[in-house]
Subunit: 320 residues, 2 copies
Amino acid sequence: MGTVVALGGQFGGAKLADGLYRLRKRDLTVIVNTGDDFEHLGLAFSPDLDTMLYTLSGIASPNAGWEPRGETYRLFEMLKMAGGPDRIRLGDQSLALPILRSEGLASGRTLSELTRDFCQHLDIDAKIVPMSDDRIRTQILTEEGAVSFQDYFTQLACEPVVTGFHYANASEAQIPDAIVNALRAPDLEAVVIGPCNPYHTVQPILEIGGMRALLRKQGAPVIAVSPIVGGDALQGSAGKMMQELGHIPLPRTVAMAYYKLIDGFIIDQVDAEQAEGLRASGIEVLVAPTVMRSPNDRVDLAVQVINFARHIAEVKAEAL
Amino acid sequence: MGTVVALGGQFGGAKLADGLYRLRKRDLTVIVNTGDDFEHLGLAFSPDLDTMLYTLSGIASPNAGWEPRGETYRLFEMLKMAGGPDRIRLGDQSLALPILRSEGLASGRTLSELTRDFCQHLDIDAKIVPMSDDRIRTQILTEEGAVSFQDYFTQLACEPVVTGFHYANASEAQIPDAIVNALRAPDLEAVVIGPCNPYHTVQPILEIGGMRALLRKQGAPVIAVSPIVGGDALQGSAGKMMQELGHIPLPRTVAMAYYKLIDGFIIDQVDAEQAEGLRASGIEVLVAPTVMRSPNDRVDLAVQVINFARHIAEVKAEAL
């Protein structure tokens, strides 16, 4: 068995990474989006990193992986009572990692080092690595101006019409060594793009200077799982964004976002009739149950992803 | 009715201030010790200020006024799980003010301004004022070296033998305007030193450059309530410290610490037989129930304090 690299963020990306983690343990590296990181109350929030940490350590809420199970809001209630900002609802447990991260960054440690420490303490054998230790902040361009995802999602309730994205500082950012090493590993078997928002969760990773070249140079199949199922995103605002950008919220639109990057594309059973059309455009397609409701669903999808990657690798090998 | 100034910290000082607050509302100013403030996890903790805020706003735990009622520790459990420090147990609600304070200080606001905002949001009409906006850190000198009160209390479990105190930066610190104005108010009726540790809760306030002169120049009686009852401190380590400093833990030792500062001294009923000796040394003494178990006890003691101050003022006036 070789190694696997997963990339993405959000709960969808974390659930698939969790399935892969159950199969591969320490042979999994997860590259996590930090473009939606933000500062609030002087603390360093990394929502995609924390969702990944909670999910792979098994403490995530089963239905809301961005926070630990049984979350409470005592600190937030007190904060509001004392005149603090109420626009972002903060869970008690969910504040622990941002507090430790802020202190660590202030003392000169990198996001990679801090995340590695969190993995160790939370008994996660996989390597969870931020896409960069440099500060990258995705700007969502809307008809009402450029905003962070956090502001778009909380203050603006996803209402403004999205016109584009800007990945500030991405091209000049450095790729952490752990990512370079994982993508250059001779036994790399698959690179998996999770079912998450292509625009602000996956694209920022791809925009980092040298990342696309690294992905192209490595020989393992790149597989993406569609976050669009039955005409909309399972969670989040990808469907709405697609429409506003002039696209139809279909798996095809996701595949186009990963043009020339992916070797295989997995769509859900409810979208089975779209497989032929996608194949006609030259994409290898697998139809599979992609909605992960239970822990077993995560492992089942991970098995499908790995087998699909193996199949593609075999086809490639035969073609040579 | 005139105005009243209370000074001190800890739960004892807060409970008496609360009694005075019920009587005087906006006509009370509380000068709070900040010598035991500390930084932890990058956050600005002001334990005496927070105890005062919780107590006067009525949200303090009845038996542990340094935290809000019904405190939980979810964040702390998560923090420890993620490898964070476990030496200081942090309550969920108790972290709200330190987080807001850290952010406020980082953005250039003063401790006085932030505390005034907290009072406003927590519906406290009294003025709670830090003894200074400058950083003062009391060092407890022990046979094992100089430590902060926080380290002495938590990490060292109050074990090292205390040899003295150092009030770092106190003499150069500035007194906030709100304190100067309160102590110069023409209708000032009493200055009340709460039943708290004389060494690290009251003395730091007195060590601020110009504070003793301000207290001496104002005409209202200065009344202290003994924190030593029945041969030991009701709460905390004042009794142990006194013994290690070569004193007997008696009200007299407290009175000596306030030598030439106080006009009247209140001791508990259980120490009634010590009143004569104290009076023989020239101190006006009132024997009263000083142990505040209920909210009514706080008001009762506050009434005794005010009446005692009036009595002393009358005696003084007659003597002129």
